[in-house]
Amino acid sequence: MIEFADVTRNYGPKTAVSGFSLAIPSGELFALLGPNGAGKTTTIKMLVCLLRPSRGAVRVCGFDMVKDPRNAHLHIGYVPDDPNLYDKLTGREFLWFIAEMFGMQQQHAMQRIGEVIDNFELADFADDLTESYSLGMKQRLVFASSLLHDPDVLVLDEPMVGLDPRSVRIVKDLLRKLTHQGMTVFMSTHTLAMAEEMADRVGIMVRGQLRFLGTVEELRQQMDKQATNLEQLYLELTAPQAMATGPTLSPARPDAP
């Protein structure tokens, strides 16, 4: 479903992402972790076509993000870390706009809008202007809009920011069910507990490169720390000394595209 083929992205003289290769099949929840400045946001931006790779290719459902972004976008739902909405539209009007941009039939759009409003408990404020929404309400609305068109791939950048515990639970349950039904979820997060709980595989990025790729259990085995949680493993792997002296475990196996 998602495919990064030896992707590199430069910002002037600096390389933000280097030789990134990854394949995520359908039904998998993948969590991308890493310290600030590791290249996670750059990777996500390339996945949703906000950035073009300097080298390599990014494909979603077989569509190249550079050559055929519009068809690729039909299969993607995206929740950014900083939800920006139209202040002077109501939540419902925003959902309609998104539905129509994805070419949804009116009847189907009406049905789906009703469903996502229920799922995300937006009914109390769906008809208020979004300028009056709190951060959590905006985040829930953006989440709802990303699922309107039943995407094959859901891209989440720090999805839990601003959500209250109830909303967090709703999102977690939703993600479990969606991946069970075949959706691919690509998530960037700093919430390691959530990644450990939810992710089928994790990738740990450091300085633009994938230092580890696999399950949390594989990480424990490679670092020979059986009873340690992901947070401890992550902190050891991304410690400044570890980053300076190079990887202490076998490099992430690049997924064959």
């Binding site: 941009m101 229920d118 408990e121």
Partner: protein, 601 residues
């Protein structure tokens, strides 16, 4: 706990190229209708909000626009009536000069607006991640920049063109065609600006701002040189027939048949000429319609080109711009900040640190200081050009006071736009200020000192320049400088005081803060203050300098007018200005300080 029933994901297809029935790429027409509908909905919602929450501002805007339009109409009517006997050549030159300079300005203003809309707005980021055509996004943002840039032309140009039609006894068709002509004309530079913006961002991303700045500077310098050589002459030759002929011949460079400005000017002149199609194929109406068709067809062709370009380079430019490395800020100027912080007593140091902080924010915000430079630079250019004409003493003094009022009005737009929101903009950082060992009064006083000192230097300098160019005597210069100082203090006091009295700590946009009730009220009070100061000083001074006051001291009138025109009247006027200035400075500050001390963020 509520367990949401999650709707099963609809039939998804893992085969590339076959999206399910629930989603399809919208057609070009459907996409355009959708984005146009979005624009209409947003505009309607904004209008409703304005009617509900900003009635004062809306009323003021309508009234002042009507007043402005009416004043301009009267001015142009008198001008065209005066020129009527010289009609053909003069009007054509004036129209061509005006429209060609407008053409250039609109290209660059639209380029800047499109840059902001296409590459820097959250909306464009959202649309890029949706299956929207790049050209559809371009046209969506183009509509916005088109209206932003063209309203000024329509507000300024319509009274001029209506007055021309009335003076020329133009047929009703002329007035009917005015709006189509203006719209068809503006589309051309607006589209060119959009294309220039996309091409610059995509093809020279690293140098985009420098390229644009160089182009704008070169064009502005060229226009200034053209204007300067057109108007510059020995003082003795000003307004003579020879000077007039030379000036007109210099403007002839704008009469180029491939310029859209020439098409517009020619079409309007033909349309106003009064001949109808009934008088044959060369009827003026048909001729003007041909020019309108020329404008419209070229505008539409450029729109097609722009769409073609957007489809190819908009996403590329967006990606390249997102990858731009921010330039390192030069540290050269930090010595000034350090010197400012360390100068003076230890007790005043927190105040100076706050001022330095605001100074850094000001000079790092290009939107603020560039407008400052442009407006005051243009004023300076106008003042430098004053010596082209000769004046008698009292006429020069009157112009001096008018120039003082203009400087004050420009300053008031800056204090309302940038100084008034300063307290409100601390809103999101209020937690920092609250935790510091700084009294809230010091925060307000730091804004006042920053505004007052920052405004006094350029304003007093400009007023001095104006007086030197006009050859005004030093006592009147002193009166002007006192008035200018009072204006700077009073306008700063009004802006800062009202900003502390009516803050909006939740809003992050300075333009929204200044366009609210508090900002509008501050603008109105500032305007009234400027008028009062100028009138209090100007009337006695003018009366004194005219024969009533100066030459006939022995036979002076014994009434109020006579007293006002005496030396005592002049000093009384100055004293009244100073008192008014103190009231305008201290009263709003006092009220603002009292409110701000107890404000909860």
């Amino acid at each position: 706990m509520h367990s949401p029933s999650i709707t099963p994901v609809a039939t998804t297809s893992s085969v590339a190229g076959t999206p399910p029935a629930s989603r399809r790429l919208p057609s070009v027409e459907a996409e355009s209708r959708l984005l146009f509908g979005l624009r209409a909905r947003l505009a309607l919602a904004a209008l409703k909000t304005m009617l509900a929450q900003a009635r004062l501002r809306l009323t003021l805007v309508i009234l002042l626009s009507a007043l402005f339009w009416g004043s301009l109409y009267g001015l142009f009517y008198e001008g065209f009536a005066f020129l009527n006997s010289l009609h053909a050549e003069i009007i054509s030159l004036l129209f061509n000069g005006f429209f060609s300079s407008l053409l250039l300005m609109l290209v660059f203003s639209n380029a800047i607006l499109m840059y902001s809309g296409l590459y820097c707005s959250p909306e464009s980021r959202l649309l890029i991640t949706l299956p929207a055509r790049p050209e559809a996004v371009f046209f969506h943002k183009f509509q916005e920049s088109f209206w932003f840039s063209s309203w000024g032309f329509i507000l300024l140009g319509s009274p001029m063109l209506v007055a021309y039609g009335v003076v020329r006894n133009a047929p009703w068709t002329y007035f009917l065609l005015l709006l189509p002509f203006m719209v068809a004309f503006v589309v051309i530079p607006a589209t060119l600006g959009g294309m220039l913006c996309m091409a610059t961002v995509a093809c020279v991303p690293r140098l985009r701002m420098h390229a644009l700045a160089i182009a704008i500077t070169a064009s502005t310098a060229g226009a200034i040189w053209l204007g300067w050589t057109a108007l510059a002459s020995a003082r003795a030759d000003s307004l003579s027939p020879i000077w007039f002929e030379q000036t007109m011949s210099r403007l002839a460079i704008t009469e180029q048949k491939f310029f859209p400005s020439w098409w517009l000017a020619s079409g309007l002149i033909e349309s106003a000429s009064g001949k109808t199609a009934l008088e044959g194929e060369s009827g003026a109406l048909m001729e003007s319609l041909r020019f309108l068709a020329l404008l419209a067809s070229n505008g539409l062709m450029l729109q097609l080109l722009a769409g073609w370009l957007a489809a190819r380079i908009y996403r590329l430019g967006f990606s390249q711009l997102s990858a731009e490395v921010t330039a390192r800020r030069p540290l050269r100027i930090s010595w000034f900040d350090r010197m400012l912080t360390q100068a003076g007593t230890a007790a005043g140091r927190p105040l100076r640190i706050l001022i330095v902080k605001d100074l850094r924010l000001f000079r790092r915000d290009i939107a603020q200081w560039s407008q400052f430079v442009i407006f005051f630079g243009l004023l300076g250019l106008y003042f430098l050009n004053i010596r082209s004409f000769t004046y008698n003493n009292s006429y020069a003094t009157m112009i001096g006071f008018l120039n003082l009022a203009v400087v004050g009005l420009i300053l008031s737009t800056f204090t309302t736009r940038f100084v008034f929101p300063m307290i409100s903009l601390e809103g999101r950082r209020f937690w920092i200020l609250n935790l510091l060992p700084v009294h809230r009064d010091q925060i307000v006083w730091s804004k006042f000192l920053f505004s007052c000192v920052g405004g006094t230097l350029p304003c007093c300098g400009l007023v001095l320049l104006s007086d030197m160019m006009l050859g005004i005597r030093w006592p009147v210069v002193a009166i002007h400088e006192i008035c200018c100082l009072v204006l700077c203090m009073g306008l700063s006091g009004i802006a800062v005081g009202m900003g502390a009295l009516l803050p909006d700590l939740r809003e992050t946009s300075p333009s929204k803060i200044s366009s609210g009730f508090g900002g509008t009220l501050a603008l109105v009070l500032s305007s009234l203050f400027i008028m009062a100061v100028v009138l209090l000083a100007a009337v006695p001074t003018h009366l004194y300098l005219s024969e009533l006051g100066a030459a006939t001291e022995g036979t002076r009138r014994s009434d109020l007018v006579g007293w006002a025109g005496s030396l005592e009247g002049v000093w009384a006027g100055v004293a009244a200005v100073v008192v008014l200035g103190l009231v305008a400075t201290l009263l709003p500050l006092f009220l603002g300080l009292r409110h701000f001390r107890h404000l909860e963020a």
